[in-house]
């Protein structure tokens, strides 16, 4: 058995325990999850305005029910793909607690992965229930629920989460050198919500901009999974866009790894 295989097997063995530990931790903070609902309801404002505008006729193929479906799905998808880890990384680096993690036989990234995955188990049901009720009671909502399409939807969500996580992990890694990494992350989140279809569906952007946005990975955070779920994109086109985003994620992950490697080296050089 090669060194790498053994290493990976050991990591896999640790994961159940790691996930259990972070699940317990997630439960402790359950009161703050109510705030999740408030934050999640943010797209309702844009939804209401577009529904009002659609009463004068469908816009780029979106009628009133179309907009309702888009934004309700966006609320759910955002809870699946969104994660905020930069501030935590920043604190860890600044007050030197990172050295404790560096001593452990498991890379820091795994602790963050465990934390993000377990938090999802709580936030997704909280948001999914009202979203599903909303979809059931709104007349005329159409979803593409064939098994293959649902599999594509799940895959797109996974890629979206991976994009958000790797991008934030890279930005968090910047805190080895700068003190305002959370500012960079807030700017990233704002740009992402506009360019990724969280605020306005991509189909409503000018045509040339749409082409650019469909080539960027931001779409995986909201637009791509949502468009798959509401059946606005054919499975073939969806698969192509998922692959493109996955390639982006791979490149970003590589960048994050380089940033962290250089960061940890300079971190220990300070002697913390």
């Amino acid at each position: 058995m090669g060194y790498h295989t053994r290493d990976m097997l050991r990591t896999l063995k640790i994961y159940p325990a790691l996930l259990r530990a972070y699940w317990q931790r997630a439960l402790v903070y359950r009161a703050t999850y109510l705030v999740v609902l408030v934050n999640a309801s943010f797209p309702l404002v844009m939804m209401a305005i577009w529904i009002g505008l659609a009463q004068g006729g469908a816009i780029q193929g979106y009628g009133a029910a179309g907009f309702a479906a888009y934004y309700l799905a966006a609320i759910l998808v955002r809870r699946i793909t969104g994660c905020g880890i930069v501030r935590d990384i920043e604190l860890l680096v600044r007050n030197g607690d990172l050295s404790v993690y560096l001593l452990r036989p498991l890379d820091v990234v795994h602790f963050y992965i465990a934390r993000i995955l377990t938090a999802r188990l709580i936030t997704i049901p909280i948001v999914a229930a009202p979203v599903l009720i909303g979809m059931l009671i709104t007349p005329g909502i159409q979803l593409n629920l064939t098994p293959y399409n649902l599999a594509l939807f799940a895959l797109a969500c996974a890629v979206g989460l991976a994009f958000e996580f790797t991008a934030q992990y890279a930005i968090g890694g910047l805190s080895f050198w700068m003190t305002q990494a959370h500012g960079a992350s807030a700017a990233f989140t704002l740009a992402e919500s506009f360019l990724g279809g969280y605020i306005v569906p991509l189909a409503l952007f000018p045509a040339t901009l749409q082409i650019v946005l469909q080539a960027l990975p931001f779409q995986s955070s909201v637009a791509l999974p949502v468009e798959i779920l509401i059946g606005r994109v054919t499975p073939d086109a969806a698969a192509a866009r998922i692959l493109l985003c996955a390639a982006w994620v791979f490149a970003i992950a590589l960048g994050a790894r380089l940033i962290w490697r250089a960061g940890v080296r300079s971190f220990s050089a300070v002697g913390a």
């Binding site: 934050n39 943010f42 404002v45 209401a48 506009f194 409503l204």
Partner: protein, 262 residues
């Protein structure tokens, strides 16, 4: 009264000194406000690329509302939130006692104590948007309009202060409710665009039930000269009632409070 004004001036000065000590970079906050404004205005650009008028509002008129949203948000961020955060922290750690024993009205001392002046960035962005929009419209509001505008903005401020204070007092009972201010900020999101842009029943809801319209849409109507006068009265009555409500809530909360240690 004079004593309270002097106290308020002292609070301002002290907050300013603290701000100067921990200078969070103003440029960073300004950049964030500009980003936020970009998507808000960008959203409006997209609305108007598909429709020429929205609920009877033109693009530049909508810009005035967006500017007012940033004024309101900046006010909450600068003057209200810091105090609410402090109250929650005081109750959690038990230092609320020190506030209550001070020989001044405890609500004044607890809710008007802290200001984060670097958050003025949002106010500047909001004012810039309004001035730009008015220039585009070639609108020059008269003195009466400006006076009424100020009265309305003050009403909006009272509304926001009261609503936030009422939420803040809940921490006397529930203890750990950090982030509770997100509720108000969440509702305020509906003030980014004119209330007429929303279909019924949302429009009625944000006009009468949770009068967000009074905070951003109605002041915009005043400077644009498209006002419905009864709303002014309605908004101020609502604000006054909410202010009384916050006083009542604060008194009940303090009576209920029996410190963290004893």
């Amino acid at each position: 009264m004079k004593r309270y004004l002097r106290l308020l001036a002292l609070f301002f000065k002290n907050s300013l000194q603290v701000d100067m000590e921990y200078r969070v970079n103003f440029a960073g906050l300004l950049f964030m406000s500009l980003m936020d404004a970009t998507w808000s205005v960008g959203g409006a650009v997209l609305f108007y690329s598909h429709r020429s008028s929205i609920g009877g509002w033109s693009f530049n008129e909508t810009l005035v509302v967006i500017g007012l949203y940033f004024l309101a948000y900046g006010f909450v961020d600068m003057a209200v939130r810091p105090n609410i955060d402090d109250i929650v922290e005081h109750i959690r750690t038990g230092t609320m006692d020190f506030v209550l024993v001070k020989p001044v009205d405890s609500q004044v001392h607890a809710t008007l104590r802290r200001y984060r002046f670097q958050k003025v960035a949002s106010l500047l962005v909001g004012a810039a948007i309004i001035v730009y929009a008015l220039a585009q419209l070639r609108a020059a509001p008269g003195a009466g309009q400006i006076a009424l505008f100020i009265v309305l903005c003050a009403g909006g401020a009272v509304l926001l202060y009261s609503a936030m204070t009422i939420l803040g007092t809940l921490s006397f009972w529930l203890v750990d409710i950090s982030n509770i201010d997100e509720f108000i900020v969440g509702f305020l999101e509906a003030g980014r665009y004119p209330s007429d842009a929303f279909p019924e029943p949302v429009r009625g809801f944000i006009t009468f039930v949770v009068p967000i319209a009074f905070i951003t849409t109605v002041p915009a109507e005043v400077v644009l000269g498209k006002l419905t006068p009864q709303f002014v009265l309605y908004g101020w009555v609502f604000a006054a009632l909410l202010l009384l409500g916050s006083v009542a809530m604060w008194r009940a909360a303090v009576r209920h409070y029996n410190s963290a240690s004893s």
